[in-house]
Symmetry: C2
Subunit: 283 residues, 2 copies
Amino acid sequence: MSVILKGADVVKEMNEAMMAELALRTADGLAVPKLAIVRVGERPDDLAYERGAVKRFANIGLRTELYAFAAEISQEDFLAAFRQINADPDVHGILVFRPLAPQIDDRLVIEAIDPAKDVDGISPVNMAKIFAGDDSGFAPCTAAAVVAILDHAGISLKGKRVAVVGRSLVVGKPLSMLLLARDATVTLCHSKTLDLPAVCREADILVACVGKAKMLGVEYVRPGAVVIDVGINVDEEGNLWGDVDFTAVEGIAGAVTPVPGGVGTVTTSILARQLMKAAAKGR
Amino acid sequence: MSVILKGADVVKEMNEAMMAELALRTADGLAVPKLAIVRVGERPDDLAYERGAVKRFANIGLRTELYAFAAEISQEDFLAAFRQINADPDVHGILVFRPLAPQIDDRLVIEAIDPAKDVDGISPVNMAKIFAGDDSGFAPCTAAAVVAILDHAGISLKGKRVAVVGRSLVVGKPLSMLLLARDATVTLCHSKTLDLPAVCREADILVACVGKAKMLGVEYVRPGAVVIDVGINVDEEGNLWGDVDFTAVEGIAGAVTPVPGGVGTVTTSILARQLMKAAAKGR
């Protein structure tokens, strides 16, 4: 049987470390780090993620403040409000739910956000740092969550063959750079890759971030390989499925993350850790 | 025998296209694009590249202006001068020889350069665009030269396995992103890659950018593969060698670039093309 890499175990370790750090910080008389959550309208997905983040941040002892705007707010009004949040010295990090709204150009916000508060890693400055292998910035949380799970499981990346399936700017590309910085040999695969199963079978570690339910079955997995499933796909009945056919792969893989309960579970802890890092830099 | 992919053929085609475009531009009464070449001190390598660029730009009909500073100029004085060049509306693009000098922090210049004039692709904004697959910015010239050679030879990248050996921020990483944007399946290899010859033999196209003379021999090349050699290594006698053992690989590879006369020959034409693009954007 495969080892099941549960997100909860990673979260527990990360959160304990953050609570200890937070205690030291408050003992020094420093402010409790605050995350500004910026939302336009009321998309159910955003609300669900928000509820989770607010609760988990409270459990750690971190502050969140919600800035919710009406779905029909003008771009001008939104940007003016955003600049105030951005400049507020009591805000240490900012999470923006995107896409914002049809009338608002997301790029203006991506370019406006203070890179030092951009704990979700959306600004070009943080992108460029991830690309450069400079760890002074902030990575997109899901990409960093994958690395945290591998680290927690004690899986070394140095010299390993890793196949990353999916080349999005939110997961596949930044994750490839984080893995490369750990000396993995990374192959970036995508919808145009020929004989994808064979390419994936070359990998010691296979990461699926394509967004297609149960797409990767046994033929993609070298026996004993580590399989990390970033996919969160919802079917008509509201069930969650990963990009990996978990039932088929379990028993073949050396280790595999479940969905739900795997990578997705860890992302808010990464967000919290990046907020702590932003606050520690004196903001 | 392998097809020899000569840089001169690519340069000829690119330069003819640029001369035609330049004729249209001047007929419209627009200024001839000007490149500012910024140099501190007199390193022989910089001087050699500068002489080549000045001559080739003149042949195309483009302007260059040299801004040479004494090796011992203070950081403050240099930055003040640089800001003037950066703001000059008659300067359409800027090439900065780096490292500048021990007393000058290169990062300050990288951050100061106007991304719209950064025709050598050093600013974080242009990095982030390359990473994002957004072609509105400027790529590092050597990385773009590799793609230009493949394009000129009519070698399609879609679905091809490409191994890039070397992960520098100047060549390996941006090149991987340019190839990925063309739908290649890219494996980024480096000094920590295990069994590098076997990984390279998986590739339809092998790109060497490691900086070690004749490191890649026949055991790295699948018969018929395309081999692009970015290396320029100088031995004690002043001879130039690529990263590829050309003599050994010629006859095994389907096509191969020579050194000298391959990728390096194309970089100044890329610089010129990026200057034309910067000028066309109305600067």
